[in-house]
């Protein structure tokens, strides 16, 4: 098994006593290399909590979380921070990029923070921008980019270096459907190139880009989609429905 993320019986309780709120209950989830998993559920179902625990931004109250073969609860705070910097990429709905830095500088930033020299970091950033079809925007500043371009640069920054796990929370935010689609195409192809991806969304059209959709309700995994039989299944239908 090549699970990059593995969650076993993970629960999360905020507060205690009478004020305790259970956000996640006994969640099991494995995400493998090359796989994009979407987490769907209504507000308050625990989607974002699941993502922050998978990204070691919060600790689980119970259960085991393994990222890249490391048990997160065994790691020191420093080691967790290193894991986040090196192995995990985050994409949020907005506020992703630093306004004072160009696209290439934004993408190179996590590598530089991890101690890689600025020239080497810049070269690797350019490589990712090229792979993702954004090479011509390397010098652009966030204010000069469209919303769709900003999100695609944010994805480039989330996958640069040796990242293994990509975590995205409503990554297409308020983008229109054409821009949302190009962001999803990129996310999907980034995963196919060797990352494990988890995306939280309430939007079924976005979730449909994932290889697997996991449904949360009241903090529990209640269902998930079966592996797709492929689009050929659609072609045999009656023409005149």
């Amino acid at each position: 098994m090549t699970a990059v993320l593995s969650m076993r019986k993970v629960s999360k309780v905020y507060g205690s006593g009478a004020a305790a709120v259970t956000a996640l209950r006994q969640v099991d989830l494995d995400v493998e290399v090359g796989e994009l998993v979407a987490i769907m559920g209504p507000s308050g179902s625990g989607k974002s909590t699941l993502l922050t625990i998978a990204g070691s931004l919060e600790e689980a109250t119970e259960g085991k979380v393994r990222v890249c073969d490391a048990d997160v609860s065994d790691l020191s705070a420093d080691a967790q921070a290193r894991l986040r910097r090196r192995s995990i990429g985050f994409v949020f709905q907005d506020l992703n990029l630093l306004a004072g830095l160009s696209a290439a500088e934004n993408v190179a930033l996590p590598l530089e923070l991890d101690g890689i020299g600025s020239r080497a970091a810049r070269a690797r950033a350019m490589g990712v921008l090229e792979e993702l079809g954004l090479a011509d925007r390397e010098g652009a500043y966030p204010d000069d980019m469209s919303g769709g371009e900003r999100q695609r640069v944010a994805i480039a920054r989330a996958v640069v270096g040796d990242r293994r796990l990509l975590l995205a929370d409503e990554p297409t935010g308020a983008l229109d459907s054409a821009n949302g689609e190009s962001v999803m195409r990129m996310l999907r192809s980034a995963c196919k190139r060797g990352l494990a991806g988890v995306m939280v969304t309430h939007d079924s059209q976005l979730a449909a880009w994932a290889d697997r959709v996991v449904f949360l309700r009241d903090g529990r995994v209640v269902d998930q989609t079966a592996p797709s039989p492929g689009p050929e299944a659609l072609l045999t239908r009656d023409a005149t429905r």
Binding site: M40, P42, R185, R188, H202, D203, S204, Q205, A207, A208, W209, A210, V213, F215, R217, V222, D223, Q224, T225, A226, S228, P229, G230, P231, A233, L234, L235, A239, T240
Partner: protein, 201 residues
């Protein structure tokens, strides 16, 4: 979907044979709507009868007929392009009816039924999305058809979400069977105002 008008549209490019029309129709709708050849010929005959298309007069044995659009056909195509299709919902939406029935059945977990449907609709959306993801971005016919299906399915999923939220806010009480009233017992019609939603065809 109006096959009749789609064929008229293809004929605006010039005279065409039946088989050719079928191939072009399928190619332009991204091969998502296969069409059988019998349907093409019945539709062409109907267009001829209506005066919207005409075929070669001298039909010889073994030679395929070519069809061309008439002025009347062009006018009909223009009228169709500018007229919104009927937005009247079907008289009974099976899914809505199923959920209406489920909320009143004892021992049935309606939210579970909603989720079963949600999963299957999302699985269908995944198949369409994969079709779109793997197609060339230049395949506009396919893109248009797939988007239409995705928006239709998304609307159903959103209805399921709304139904779920509604049931969570107002859990249904077991139905109360009213005792027969004196009026009903006497055979008189009770005058309860009935709300009509949607069209009954």
């Amino acid at each position: 979907m109006s096959v009749r008008h789609a064929l008229l549209a293809l004929l605006t490019e010039g005279p065409k044979y039946g088989l050719q029309l079928r191939q072009e129709f399928e190619a332009r709708t991204g091969d998502v709507w296969p069409l059988n050849v019998g349907q093409v010929y019945t539709t062409l005959q109907r267009l001829e009868r209506e005066g919207h298309a005409e075929s070669d007069d001298a039909e010889r044995d073994g030679v395929q007929k070519r069809f061309r659009i008439t002025e009347g056909g062009a006018a009909e195509l223009d009228r169709w392009l500018r007229t919104p299709p009927g937005t009247v919902p079907p008289p009974r939406d099976e899914l809505v009816m199923k959920v209406q029935v489920a909320v009143r059945l004892p021992g049935v977990d309606v939210r579970d039924i909603l989720q079963t449907h949600r999963r299957q609709f999302v699985e269908e959306m995944q198949r369409y999305t994969t079709l779109k993801a793997e197609a060339s971005p230049d395949d506009i016919g396919l893109g248009l058809v797939v988007d239409a299906e995705l928006f239709r399915l998304e609307a159903v999923v959103r209805w399921l979400d709304a139904a779920d939220a509604r049931l969570l806010r107002q859990p249904l009480q077991p139905p109360q069977v009213p005792a027969p009233s004196a009026a009903a017992a006497a055979g008189r019609a009770t005058k309860t105002p009935r709300r009509r939603v949607g069209a009954r065809r």
